[in-house]
Symmetry: C2
Subunit: 228 residues, 2 copies
């Protein structure tokens, strides 16, 4: 009986270590995305080809790590058959990894815009301040994601949502600029800023999806996990 209990304890301990590993890998992935988006924003706003190449070259590593994390999560579901909050942790990891991986892709897309236009800038002068601010916001959001994953703090989730709202406003302002009679940009400028603005906006959207899943993780209520 004593032996059986200590075996159970051991199984439980292994399981808790596996859950901690899942969480640690999610945090690690989001740390990599923070590095990628920081470089991508700098590459985009300052036409830095070297940084752009680094981001584009590094995206496959993020994709592979996300696939490995998914495999680990599915193995845990199969072997440990978790319930309650443990189950929510694993299911959320599966869904959050998809968003984090997508954020890495979007950082890559922003870097590609910089590379494609190099040595020219992809950012026309009159939109420089707007993209500067959007860049600061997506970097700050990316900085908050690993913090949110570690602390599961509702207030961090709400900050991300508020910053996403500001990005949506800036995204709309880009269209207002481009569609105004005063816009003198070339078609290439118009394409670049349309896509760049969209990529920033989608990056922030995925952070909001992650924030919603962290709220779900705490409450267990998927439908009411809207934090807007």
């Amino acid at each position: 009986m004593g032996v059986s209990e200590s075996q159970e304890d051991l199984v439980r301990k292994v399981f808790q270590e596996e859950l901690a590993d899942v969480q640690q890998r999610l945090v690690g992935l989001s740390d990599e995305v923070l590095v990628a988006i920081t470089k991508a924003v700098e590459a985009f706003n300052t036409s830095n080809l070297h940084l752009a190449e680094e981001v584009i070259g590094g995206d496959e590593r993020i994709d592979d790590a996300a696939v490995d994390l998914d495999e680990l999560s599915i193995t845990i579901l199969a072997k440990q058959q978790p319930v309650a909050k443990d189950l929510r942790t694993v299911v959320s990891a599966l869904r959050m990894s998809a968003s984090i991986e997508r954020m890495g892709d979007l950082a890559g897309h922003i870097a590609q815009l910089a590379r494609y236009r190099f040595p020219e800038s992809a950012v026309p002068g009159e939109l420089r301040a707007g993209f500067q601010r959007m860049g600061e916001l997506v970097i700050d959001i990316a900085r908050k994601v690993p913090i949110l994953l570690q602390t599961e703090d509702d207030s961090v989730a709400r900050e991300i949502t508020a910053q996403d709202d500001e990005i949506d406003t800036l995204h709309q302002a880009v269209f207002d600029t481009v569609l105004a009679p005063s816009w003198k940009g070339s078609p290439a400028d118009t394409v670049d800023v349309t896509l760049a603005s969209r990529y920033h906006e989608r990056f922030a959207d995925h952070a909001v999806l992650i924030a919603q899943k962290v709220v779900y993780l705490e409450t267990g209520d998927w439908k009411d996990s809207s934090i807007s």
Copy 2:
């Protein structure tokens, strides 16, 4: 003993019904997306405001159905603790519902472009043939998704991937047109076709993600589920 066995049979029967329900809901969701994208493409190519409004108004129903499906999948994981192929079915449903829901969003975005420019057309004359073809392809891909979900037929998965490749080529051709010296479109035209082309391309990408998950469902191998 006989009683216990028949109880087990009953539990197993309920479980199989739940799995069939998950599959049926996924098929139902993808049928709704087929209706949405068919209307959205028509609305976009022919400036049909009525159809555009229908797509935009119907998207919330798809979003809600996707959330309900996720809740059902998580409940099954918690209550039934499936293993092997049953586990893969539920995990895949969770991930595929996210892509199907996103395809519904993208149909809505295409419809919004039509509504925003109505009564003018969002499609400049010289790009009409290209968008016509892209529209046919996304509708055909959307038609194949419920078939793929029901048959789990590898050849359907490969057809979707081949059509996605053709869409990528058409997407690139839109940029070639817009960036050519001969392009006479307004900035609004440039923004609309850039976004519209991107939405068609992303719609097809999500179908490819679903096709990859169906291959995973069959093989159990996540890494080798690439069908390109």
